[in-house]
């Protein structure tokens, strides 16, 4: 802590994961499953679980718990569970099947993921993830997920995100969609069987805690506006990531932090909030009207060459008129051995630097060229079309430019959030009975996530991990019935009502979106790819001013008792503002460059990221201490027994 950060947070007791067994890593998960108490099938009907979220993590958990015989209620804000944001994942899902006999194994997937996370994830969790990855593929195939196949009828694999083995299963460029439809269908089967009840267009706005246990949620029916209470023996949050704190991201419009943030305010620790992933190949912003960014698959970097004009004066020229010698293929120049295939964070940061130097192209100078002219000349248009046709079409539709003729323009965008609620090996948060799965938790990706591993984690959590660990908790239930008018319930419900009334009656002058956009600008500028103490302090004071202005000057029209998108957004943006501040504080205390983020104060002589394992090999888990108190930092030390920590080098 430096003098300037004093008072922004305080340090509390360290925290430890007490659930993962010690000893050989290969048997930890089987031992934990064996130790976890069983629930007799006849008792399961008496035990109820609320699952918020119907993405890969939530849908798979609800379906599996329903199959096991528990009484499940499932919630999502969209009009159908099938629309959760997992649907948008393009690339693929990893699994250690070693179908290609190329030396892959559970241990190698574990090793790659720990290394990919830049040694900031727990070994036990990651090993388990790699272990169950193979079951996921079996399960999905059995459900009818149409993965890509070879002519002989076997499943096809490809290599993804710079790893040296082919372990990624895919369904053209729509893997997330196909996996989610599989999980959604399994969920709908349980709805038909009567074991799961789905509440669509319902948004969770508060968590109910009774006698120290998570016992329910308060939700708003987004059509009628009714504030409902749902109670159960345990609550699972599978509500996805918070990338929308940046306003512009590749996330869906509705992605938000409300569910996890509300739980955080009620005592759940929030871990590593500043660990976000920035994807280098997105379509750049076209103007102030921009509402979201679209990802272009990373595979484009296999054949496209990235460059900017050497002379900023050439920025607005037709790129085809810029001769070879006036172009700077900067990745190939700086990283000759990896070239255009350097990891995501390096590619992203390098693009930012070029734009900072005034060499960026396209609207606002925020873009770099991704040029396919060479590969088209070498292999012909048809081959390129066969490889990337749908991506090129998508690009053409969005930008109105033809990438077969003129280079694409790309720019980095926020894509994934590694941080989330702190959970133990059982995926249980620090609130007993509150479990967290999928992108909403922090557990498996450390400071950076490998490509094709979020889908794997979502389904691992939902199909295989959570259903096994939650039983250890439920075995002590059913817990005493909570009355709808219990003081804790009334308190939670009236807090929600007061908040909604506050938004509707504030009669300010600015729209919710304008605040969201401003928050996004602050976060992107100061807590994005590159961070410094100076910038983060600036961001914190701006966010505080923004919060004040939001409270005084937001304008939300209409009533609660109707479909009201501004009202929905108001609650989400208010929570994102609070989260934004915590992200900056988290980034401030981590004075090291690690994983997806770069701290200017921590770099090597030639400007590369420098990690500090001696000081920062811990999870930063934050405890809420009221509206005015500084957040409390609780460190969970990370110990590496099976993988040796190494500095990355791509030069």
């Amino acid at each position: 802590m430096t003098d300037r950060t004093a008072g922004l947070f305080v340090e509390g007791e360290p925290i430890h994961d007490t659930k993962a067994p010690a000893g050989p890593i290969e048997t930890r998960w089987s031992r934990r499953k064996f130790e976890a108490k069983l629930v007799n099938p006849a008792n399961r009907r008496k035990l109820s679980v609320i699952v918020v979220g119907t993405g890969l993590a939530g849908a798979s958990a609800s379906a599996t718990l329903g199959e096991a015989g528990y009484v499940v209620k499932s919630f999502c804000y969209q009009d159908s569970p099938r629309r959760a944001h997992s649907i948008a994942a393009q690339g693929g899902i990893n699994a250690a099947k070693n179908y290609k006999e190329d030396g892959d194994s559970v241990f190698r997937l574990f090793y790659d993921t720990v290394k990919g996370g830049d040694y900031r994830a727990r070994e036990s969790n990651v090993f388990r993830l790699a272990e169950v990855s193979t079951n996921i593929i079996d399960q999905c195939v059995a459900q009818g997920v149409p993965f890509a196949r070879e002519y002989g009828g076997l499943l096809d694999n490809r290599s993804f995100g710079g790893v040296q083995v082919s372990r990624t299963f895919y369904a053209r460029g729509q893997t997330g969609q196909q996996l989610l439809i599989g999980a959604y269908q399994a969920l709908q089967r349980q709805v038909a069987a009567g074991s799961v009840e789905v509440f669509t267009r319902h948004e969770m706005l508060e968590l109910v805690i009774v006698e120290g246990r998570a016992r329910g949620i308060i939700v708003r029916d987004m059509v009628s506006g009714e504030i409902e209470t749902h109670l159960a023996d345990a609550v699972v949050l599978a509500t996805g990531g918070y990338g929308n704190v940046f306003f512009l991201s590749t996330n869906a419009m509705g992605c938000n932090v409300t569910a996890t943030w509300r739980a955080h305010r009620k005592g759940a620790l929030f871990a590593n909030p500043c660990f976000t992933q920035i994807h280098p190949t997105c379509i750049p912003v076209s103007g102030e009207h921009q509402s979201k960014l679209t990802l272009m698959s990373e595979s484009l970097r296999n054949d496209g060459r990235i460059w900017v004009p050497k002379d900023p004066a050439d920025r607005d020229k037709d790129p085809r008129q810029i001769p070879e010698e006036a172009r700077d293929y900067y990745l190939e120049r700086i990283y000759p051995s990896f070239g255009n295939l350097v990891p995501r964070d390096i590619a992203s940061r390098a693009a930012k630097y070029q734009c900072d130097e005034g060499k960026g192209v396209g609207p606002g100078g925020l873009g770099v060229y991704l040029d396919f002219a060479d590969v088209i000349a070498r292999l012909g248009v048809d081959t390129v079309k066969a490889r990337y046709g749908n991506l090129f079409d998508m690009y053409a539709r969005i930008t109105g430019e033809n990438p077969y003729e003129t280079p694409m323009r790309i720019y980095p965008a926020v894509h994934y959030t590694m941080g989330g609620l702190w959970v133990d090996y059982d995926l249980q948060s620090t609130i007993p009975g509150l479990f967290v799965a999928g992108e909403a938790n922090f557990s498996d990706h450390g400071a950076n996530r490998l490509g094709a591993s979020a889908l794997m984690q979502g389904l691992a959590d939902g199909y295989f991990v959570l259903p096994n660990t939650i039983r250890d908790y439920l075995a002590a239930g059913p817990f005493p019935t909570v009355a709808q008018d219990a003081p804790e319930v009334v308190e939670a419900r009236s807090a929600v009502q007061t908040r909604i009334e506050g938004f509707l009656s504030s009669n300010g002058s600015r729209t919710v979106d304008s605040f969201h956009r401003e928050l996004g600008h602050i976060m992107w500028e100061y807590c994005g790819m590159e961070r410094s103490e100076e910038g983060l302090l600036e961001a914190i004071s701006r966010i505080r001013a923004l919060r004040k202005e939001f409270q005084d000057d937001v304008r939300v029209l209409g009533a609660n008792e109707q479909v009201n998108a501004s009202l929905e957004k108001a609650g989400r943006v208010a929570d994102l503002i609070d989260l934004g501040e915590l992200m900056c504080i988290d980034a401030l205390q981590r004075r090291e460059s690690c994983g997806g983020h770069f701290r200017v104060e921590s770099q090597t002589e030639d400007g590369e990221a420098l990690r500090h394992d001696d000081e920062y090999a811990y999870v930063s888990a934050w405890q809420y201490s009221g509206e005015d108190g500084p957040p409390v930092l609780r460190k969970e030390p990370l110990v590496y027994e099976f993988v040796e920590m190494k500095q990355r080098s791509y030069k």
Binding site: D79, N135, A142, G153, L155, Q178, A186, Q188, L557, S566
Partner: protein, 247 residues
């Protein structure tokens, strides 16, 4: 671009609705269609008027949440979703009429937002393979010829947007139904329940108030994912099979 928008406004499920005109003088051709509506809404809020409610989420053409009838066509003039349309495809067009996806089975909830839950209930009636978590055999234990896997995939890309039903003069959701029947019917995993699936899903479809198919083909024209009309032929074939078996 200068455009007059005529937008369906309806306060609630049982309220009467009408088209309201909005003059826009500053539409950029690079805006997406929904961004154009976002900007309209920002202006409406500034003026103290309630914004136009419409659904969208991914804005990448994959979640199926968006869906507007634009100048009479579900998802507008191109073969894509509403969220993937850009204003440059409306150049030279001075007025645009925007209505919700209409079908008896899709009641309007407010403005352009409709209830498409019948589509979920059709899936509940049998659009799945019955396999509990953990009971799956090794993935390679069953080979699937590539042609079957590809055809299953082509049908499985349906995003459940409901445009097919809104386009159909009979308000039939047969393209949606056929897509699911074909997806699962092409794969070995889908065989055991194949006969019952088509009958149960079809019964649910009719119960929801969707109409019958008279081979107009408007559904396939409107479908943003180019689900081919032959999935309906497949559905009819599967139906005949199961009826012969007396299901």
């Amino acid at each position: 671009m200068k455009i007059t928008l005529r937008i369906w406004r309806q306060a609630g499920k049982d309220a009467p609705g009408r088209l309201v005109s909005y003059q826009r003088d500053d539409v950029s051709p690079d805006m997406s269609f929904l961004e154009m509506l976002d900007v309209l809404n920002e202006d409406l809020i500034a003026k103290g008027e309630e914004p136009v409610e419409f659904d969208s989420d991914c804005r990448e053409g994959i979640c199926g949440m968006c869906g507007l009838v634009i100048n009479g066509e579900p998802h507008g003039p191109q073969v894509t979703t509403t969220c993937q349309l850009h204003m440059r495809s409306f150049e030279g067009c001075d007025s645009i009429t925007i209505e919700p996806l209409r079908a008896d089975a899709f009641p309007v909830l407010r403005d352009l937002v409709v209830d498409r839950s019948p589509l979920d209930r059709i899936i509940q009636a049998g659009g799945y393979v019955s396999v509990n978590t953990g009971s799956a055999p090794e993935a390679h234990s069953q080979l699937v010829p590539k042609v079957h896997a590809d055809r299953a995939f082509d049908a499985a890309v349906c995003i459940g947007c409901g445009a097919c039903a809104a386009a159909c003069p009979n308000a039939s959701a047969m393209l949606f139904l056929g897509a699911k029947v074909t997806h699962l019917g092409e794969l070995p995993q889908g065989q055991p329940e194949r006969d019952a699936r088509v009958v149960n899903m079809l019964n649910q479809h009719d119960e929801e108030g969707f109409g019958g198919c008279t081979n107009v083909g408007a559904c396939a024209t409107a479908c943003p994912k180019e689900i081919p009309l032959d999935v309906i032929s497949q559905l009819n074939k599967d139906l005949r099979h199961s009826l012969v078996k007396g299901l």
